[in-house]
Every structure is written in structure tokens, then in C-alpha cells.
């Protein structure tokens, strides 16, 4: 039976792991919480072993562009062979290949759950995760050519992921047409968890009874994730930093970013921040975001895709 892939899409450090931990806990049949090192909801879209395994030949000797051309076929094949819905993380921006095909084919896609987070908080978390200065993280988030694993001098464990700028990333997924899509904000996951995660569960066709949602949320709350990381470490953590699960609080930027840094992020991303309720009408940053619109119009693309 062809069930297809639900993509759990986000810019890095926006709540993707928390969301996948929620999904894993919601679908877990046995007692107890899911081990953070066994959140097996599906490989990340850029997992070399997934693409290599389906293709059946060595992609280690192909260029990044050559591999990208093959990725849509792999996702279609996986979706076709899937016996149930699969939930795959993706950090790539939604983009078209030079021949006009989307990297993420509509045919392979049951839906896209896009998670976004206030870029002011992303900057703090991204700097910590990447073991770089906050200024460097802000620069990366403003770089329309930013990509992971794009080097040419060694074999990366993951495939190249073109992220674009933070605004470019959000807009790229926000403007997709013809795909079943839900956009959720990290802040709503924190501030209105029951309502937000119930909407997510329904969208992903997962169990959505309130008691089940509550139990899964309890099992994957940040304290629990931190405790697990403290006890047994977390495989997805970079070797250069002390911990993956940090504070996970909304508005941490207020205590961490300088005025100049806040201003830079707002200058770089004002349009998209405004659209998703992170700025008030005067363009001032908000801790608790305003209501947002699920639909992005094309005007944003021209503004953000330089």
C-alpha cells in the first residue's frame, strides 16, 4: 500500500527533535518513554545511507549536484514501498532542481509539517549547536547560499543540504503549493502545547485523543529529554558542545542577544518575522507571537530569495 512520507521540515534548532520525540512517544505501544537515541521515526532526508541504499550504487563518487538529481526518485521509491506513513526529518529548503523538478516530489509526499521558531531564539541556539559566535550564527542565517555538508574535499556522512537564509528557508516551504501542509510555531508548541500538538497529531494521522497527547507530551518534555541526555548522552549532539537539549525556553534572546544583534536579525528577516507574528506593527520584536497566517504569498519570495 502506498502511504507516502510526512516531512518534518524545519530550519535547524527550531524544535524538530522535540517534535520527532513527540511522534515517537505518541506511537509507542510499550510502557515508558522513548529512548532519545532511538527516535526512529525515519531517516533524515539527507542521510547518505538511505539514498545510497535505494539507488544501489556508490554515490560517494558523484558530485553534490549529481546526487541531488537522484534524490527525488529515491523518495518516490521509498514512498511507493512504504507500508505505513513514514515521518522523515528534513533541513533542506524546499527547492527546484535545475531541470525544474522539486527536490521533494509531491508524489512522494503525504504531507509537510513545517516547524518554525523566532529567529532571535534560533540564533542563540544555532550558535551553541554550531559551536560558533552568535554573530557568526546571525551571518549564516542571513546567507542565501548557506548549506550543510557542502565541502568538496571529504565525504560527509550526510548529503549537502541547501538551507538558504532563515527567511529563504521559511518562505521556500511556506509558499509550496499543491502539497498538504501545516505550519506550526515552536512558541505555540511551548505556550499552547495541548492544542498545538493535537492539531499536529490529527494532521499526521496519528492517535489524537487528549489523554494520548498528554502522555506523549509528558514523556518528551524538555526536562525528561535533558535528563536522558545527562544519563546516557545523545547521538545527534555535536562533539564540540556540552549538551543538545538546552533551555528550550521562549524569549531566551532577551537575555542573550545585544541590541545590535537583535537589530541585525530584524533587518535581515523583517518581512517573514512580521508575517509569522514575531514583530508587532511597529516592527518591534515580541516574545509571545501574534496570530499567524498559514499562507505566504509570492511577494515574500521576491523579498527573501536574493
Amino acid at each position: 500500500m502506498n502511504e507516502g512520507i510526512y516531512w518534518i521540515a524545519s530550519y535547524p534548532k527550531s524544535g524538530n527533535t522535540w517534535m520527532r520525540s513527540f511522534i515517537a512517544n505518541l506511537t509507542k505501544k510499550e510502557e515508558g518513554e522513548v529512548d532519545i537515541n532511538e527516535i526512529n521515526t525515519g531517516s533524515i532526508a539527507s542521510a547518505r545511507c538511505w539514498i545510497d541504499g535505494v539507488l544501489g550504487f556508490d554515490i560517494g563518487e558523484l558530485s553534490h549536484d549529481e546526487i541531488d538529481k537522484l534524490r527525488p526518485d529515491v523518495y518516490c521509491q521509498t514512498a511507493q514501498e512504504a507500508e505505513q506513513y513514514e515521518y522523515h526529518k528534513i533541513h533542506d529548503a524546499y527547492r527546484l532542481l535545475p531541470d525544474g523538478r522539486p527536490l521533494i516530489p509531491t508524489k512522494a509526499t503525504a504531507g509537510v509539517l513545517y516547524i518554525l521558531r523566532n529567529p532571535l531564539d534560533v540564533a542563540v541556539s544555532f550558535a551553541h549547536h554550531s559551536h560558533c559566535s552568535i554573530d557568526q550564527a546571525i551571518k549564516n542565517m542571513g546567507n542565501p547560499d548557506f548549506a550543510f555538508a557542502k565541502g568538496l574535499k571529504r565525504q560527509h556522512r550526510q548529503l549537502r543540504q541547501q538551507l538558504l537564509s532563515w527567511s529563504g528557508h521559511v518562505s521556500s516551504w511556506g509558499k509550496v503549493k499543491g502539497i498538504n501542509r501545516l505550519i506550526v510555531r515552536y512558541e505555540d508548541m511551548q505556550l499552547k502545547p495541548h492544542e498545538t500538538f493535537a492539531t499536529v497529531a490529527r494532521f499526521l494521522q496519528l492517535p489524537d485523543e487528549q489523554s494520548q497527547i498528554n502522555q506523549a507530551l509528558q514523556r518528551c518534555n524538555i526536562k525528561n529529554l535533558q535528563q536522558q541526555e545527562k544519563e546516557k548522552g545523545f547521538n545527534e549532539k555535536s562533539a564540540k558542545v556540552d549538551s543538545f537539549f538546552r533551555k528550550g525556553i521562549v524569549g531566551d534572546w532577551q537575555k542573550t542577544l545585544t541590541e545590535k544583534q537583535v537589530k541585525q536579525i530584524i533587518t535581515d528577516h523583517a518581512k517573514v518575522m512580521q508575517h509569522f507574528g514575531y514583530l508587532n506593527e511597529q516592527g518591534q520584536p515580541l516574545v509571545e507571537p501574534l496570530e499567524m497566517n498559514q499562507v505566504l504569498d509570492d511577494g515574500h519570495d521576491r523579498e527573501t530569495e536574493q
Binding site: F57, E61, S63, L152, K153, R154, H156, R157, A239
Partner: protein, 300 residues
Amino acid sequence: MPMYYAFGLNIQSELDLPALPLTDHVEPDVTIELADINKDGLEAPVDKRLYFQSSPDKFWLHVPGIAWFQVEEGKRIQVMPEENSDMQSVNLFLLGSCLGVILQQRQYLVMHANAIRFGDQCVIFAGPSGNGKSTLAAAFYQRGYEVLADDVSAINEAIEVLPSYPQMKLWHDAATKLDIDTAELSRVRMQIEKYACPLEKGFCNKPLPLAAMYILGTHNRDEFLLEPLKGIDKFDPIKNNTYRMQYLEGLGLKGHHLQRAGQLANRIKVTRIVRPDADFQLDRLVDVILEDLQACGIKV
């Protein structure tokens, strides 16, 4: 047509294969020829995947942008390059996937691993791509150890590893780590910064008994971890590091392969070795392995 030699086979090829040594033998075990290949695949495939198909005697592969290949009965490889492909690229998949299938069809136990000589035996190193297998092999080579195989190790019934051919492939960063000047090497393909390093004196050209297998892994901690595996625990790592396991189903060789993998598990030492991800510590890794081999009575 030139006759080449690799994996103990005389290979007569219509295509130039500069990576392989020439031989004077006249009777080929394997022939490589240009041919018309059906772009849709085999007539009656047992297993039909996205870009490869297989049946007990035949294997068909399409590498988009490069070529179509057909491999038959462990004896013959046919090639039909795509219009704009270059022979360097065609050669890579010919010596990779296609030669791999020839060895599988000849019922060798084929592992995705490299093989290094220690005394009169050898040890294979496996692990996911990107974990440093080739870098480690090159480090042993620099310390004077002979290399039998880079990337693909074929094991015969006597549990010996066959010598492949005298070349290692190294990424630019790995070469730099080993102070190898890439300016003097050729790229394996123009599209990537991976280089062909010819192995001159340090190639072992005779089959050697296999003593042990190491599975290379990494973790985000700052320590080395050695975990010797026992009994049934040795089986999965052997199975999981099989060369292109997904080919074997349609070739009708999966059962045979698993049986051989079981026999291998009973005969060799299998150890998982995990190194820090942030800092390769290549010299330390080599030392840790050498100490472990000595402790197990393997002459280094």
C-alpha cells in the same frame, strides 16, 4: 585487447582500465565489452529496483548520466555508456559495482571493507562511509603495512582475502592528514576531489588468511572504545557490512551468503572500535588497533 589482473581474475577488456595491472595470461576469466544494453532492464528479473535488476545469472544496473551495465554469470560485463559520459566515470562503476557483482556471482563472500596485511594474515576494516576506513588504510600503508584491498574485500572458501588491485582512493582532506601531496595524484573523477593513490611496494598480491574484522564507528565523546564481540553478536556486523547486500536477493545468493557469513563469524575475531568524532586522532587509532591485535596474538 589488453588483459588485466584483479581479485585473482584475468580480465580482458575492450575499455582501458588504467587502475589495474596488466598480465601476460591469455585465457580470460572475465571479459568487459561495449554492447547494446536494453535500457528497460532484464527480460525476466527476479528483483527489480529503481536502478538495478537481478536474476540468478544476470545483473543490470543503470547509473544515470554515466552508463548502463549488465553482468552475467561471473564472467562477462557489458557496458553501454550514456551519450555525454566520460570513460573515467564509467570505469569507476565498472570496477566498483560491476566487479563487485562478478565476485558475488562467483560466490565469494564480498565485504564492504578494506584489508591490511599483518604478518602472514590479514585484517579487514568495515564501517559506514565517512567513518575513515580509507584514511585508516592509508595510515597503515604509511607505517609500512601492505594493503590487499581498498573498499571491497572478497573472501574465498578457505577464508582468505583476495588481493584486489594496487590502488587506494583518498579524499583531499584524508591525503592532507597524511601529508600526501594531491598535486602529484590524479582525481578519480574530475567532478570530485577524490584522488587515486597508486600502491607501489605496499601492495600485497597474494591471498592471505583472514584473522579479524574491525567495525569502525564514531561517537561524540572524547575516548576510544573497543568492544570485542562474542558468539551470535558477531553475525550482524558481518551481515551489515556485506557489499551491496541488496543485490544478493535477486541473484539467488542471499541464503548462501548468510550461511558463509555465519561460518565467518565462527572463525574470526570481530571487534567494534569507536573513535572520537571531533578529533580523528589517526595515530592513536592505529596504535589502539595494533595493541589490540597484539593482545589477541596476531603478529603485527
